[in-house]
């Protein structure tokens, strides 16, 4: 038994060393998913790691309260690199900039604002947003709300004005937005947070999608090398040693699992630390990762059982990984998929993993992902079991 464990580790370590030496595994297992998650999050609508916008500020008041708004929260936005803030002399100019898209939104501080606040009278701030830049306008609104809530004893209302180039603004949208602005019961609820949440959840979705897509490529390295070693003759040489075919298989499967866990683990950790993804409860995420890697390794082993050589296995793995990823919602969320596809997706590890991450990201604990864990484990054991049966003949064929 100890000898078997020793042999399994010896085989796995040699393989891992080779994988570290030749960079292709690292690129496929770590660099590619991380880079793609980042790119998607920047390119696709809805979320941006590097959210950046531009505001025009029209200070018609010039008083101390107005200055504190400009030098306080708005300056902070600029400093944080979230927005360029440009001062403008009059509202018409700012409105024109928003209309032609040069500015995402304009913030207008009306004349008499400071006086009104000083006298305890109601005061109003105005946000002019392009209809197609609602996120930017939303950020502006939330910043102003935050400021307003800090202005004690004064009711500062924030009027939102929508402009759009050419077509008339959608009245329903205006009504909704202004209603929202007016109906905010507690100005302290910062839309700022909600925006960050949305960005984070998009980031998490892309990170998780790419992690589960690429774990198939990472996991294939271990088991596919069975075919390469068979061709090179080193497999036969290993089997001539006092070890069984199962020991060699175990060594290779272990490599797949280690590479898979490292790949997904680094993507999860990296996207959390560097681009603001929020995966949720670390223990539950770890469990989800391990079971997903199990499923990916099992499927990779099954593919190896059907391939003649390592090139064929690589091609087959790519086809299987991409098909499962599309079906499983790695490229677009399953909530947008037609009914039949959503059902089909339940046969993919991707769907179960993404569903699990989604639950965890919104704050659920490990108990929320039990079904995902169970299904992923079952997929892993099922495909892995079939794969082992076939792989035995791979190992013993010359």
């Amino acid at each position: 038994m100890a000898a078997t464990v020793h042999a399994v580790l010896t085989i796995a370590l040699r393989d891992l060393r080779q994988r570290v030496r030749d960079r292709s595994a690292i690129i496929l297992a770590v660099v590619a998913p991380f880079a793609l998650a980042y790119l998607f999050s920047v390119m696709l609508p809805g979320g941006s790691a590097a959210f950046h916008t531009s505001y025009a500020v029209v200070d018609l008041d010039g008083g101390p309260v107005a200055r504190s708004l400009v030098n306080g929260p708005l300056a902070a936005l600029k400093e944080a690199g979230v927005a360029d803030v440009t001062a403008m002399a009059d509202e018409a100019e700012a409105r024109a900039k928003v209309e032609d898209g040069a500015m995402a939104a304009a913030i207008v501080i009306p004349a008499g604002f400071s006086d009104a606040v000083g006298a305890g009278r109601a005061a109003e701030l105005k946000v002019i947003g392009g209809a197609d830049a609602t996120l930017a306008a939303g950020v502006a609104r939330s910043v102003l709300k935050g400021f307003a809530s800090g202005v004690e004893s004064v009711q500062v209302s924030i009027a939102t004005v929508l402009v759009s180039s050419g077509a008339a603004p959608d009245p329903a949208l205006i009504a909704r937005l202004s209603g929202e602005a007016l109906a905010v019961p507690d100005p302290i609820i910062l839309a700022d947070d909600r925006t960050a949440d949305r960005v984070a959840s998009n980031m998490t979705f892309y990170a998780a999608s790419m992690a589960v897509l690429f774990v198939f490529f990472a996991a294939q390295f271990g088991v596919t090398s069975l075919l390469a070693e068979r061709r090179a003759g080193t497999l036969a040489r290993m089997l001539a040693a006092p070890i069984s075919p199962q020991t060699v298989l175990a060594g290779k499967v272990l490599v797949s699992i280690v590479l898979g866990v490292v790949s997904m683990g680094i993507v999860a950790l990296g996207t959390s630390l560097l681009i603001g993804a929020r995966w949720g409860d670390p223990v539950a995420v770890a469990a989800l990762i391990v079971t997903t890697v199990l499923a990916a390794s099992g499927i990779a082993l099954l593919v190896v059982g059907f391939a003649k050589n390592e090139d064929q296995a690589g091609g087959l793995t790519a086809i299987v990984a991409m098909t499962l990823a599309v079906l499983g919602g790695s490229f677009f969320p399953m909530s947008q998929a037609p009914e039949g596809l959503a059902q089909l997706s339940l046969f993919t590890p991707h769907a179960w993993f993404l569903r699990g991450v989604n639950d965890l990201a919104s704050g659920a604990g490990v108990e929320a992902v039990v079904s995902s864990l169970a299904v992923l484990t079952a997929i892993g054991l099922g495909s892995g079991g079939l794969g082992l049966l076939r792989a035995r003949s791979v190992v013993l064929a010359r």
């Binding site: 036969a236 040693a241 013993l396």
Partner: protein, 313 residues
Amino acid sequence: MPTPVLDCRDLRKRFGSRTAVDGVSFSVAAGETYGLLGPNGAGKTTTISMICGLLGRDGGEVVVDGRPIDVGSTDAKAAIGYVPQDLAIYPDLSARENLRFFGRLQRLSGRVLETRVGEVLELIALSERADDRTSEFSGGMKRRLNIGIGLLHRPRLLVLDEPTVGVDPQSRNAILSSVADLGSEGLAILYTTHYMEEAERLCDRIGIIDEGRIRAEGTRRELVGLIGEKDRVTLVAGGSLGPAARALASVERVQEATATDGRIELVVEEARSLLPRILQEAAAAGAVVRSVEVVEPDLEAVFLHLTGKALRD
């Protein structure tokens, strides 16, 4: 006869409709070198793969060092040192790392492993290059390492599958003499080749294999004797050749003696042992012998006789 180190009986293997090995039986004793001599496709590698537990068989039995060998065997395989026909080494590892890896699989570790790796490197004359990647090695160096890996764990049976294929004559000589040394140290060696000279030089006994069957087996002499061919001796000589030929013809085991211009041609049984007597008789009959050539029938001829085809195509 002591119990053989390797005993295989009635081995059979088919690949689809092709029968690769068709009832092969032989055994190899400690200190004995057994050659499987046969052309390409004869079934040598298939036989070896079954002996080493690398390939499932359709029939037959293999016993090594008293223990049966099967594809699932573990401990029993420790008695075998396997040197595959095609180089089986990792190009991205150094010679030392290759030896260490396979040594660990042979359950060596720690100091024992390091010492043994050093010894084997010495034996295969690669100590100088031990830490170079094997992808930078010459063909002969790779061959030597390929053999060294099979020796690491001091097996009782060394199985060499055409270890000199594609090797330059010098390296080949070195390989052959180290195999001969290993044999004299008591290792049982199974050696496959399609080079007649290697089988003749190294092997105590030879099995001639063709189309999955051993056609004949024995020492070189036994095999040659099997086809009843005699040695041919040519004496290049001056003096009275006719009387000398007549005198020689009456010597026991000399079957023919004819004088032609400047030489006497003899057909002799076991010429080497009779040579002093032949020279003596020739001199006594007045011939002045300037040179002697002995041509013994070789395994090539035996193979041709047994199979109707040449050993090498």
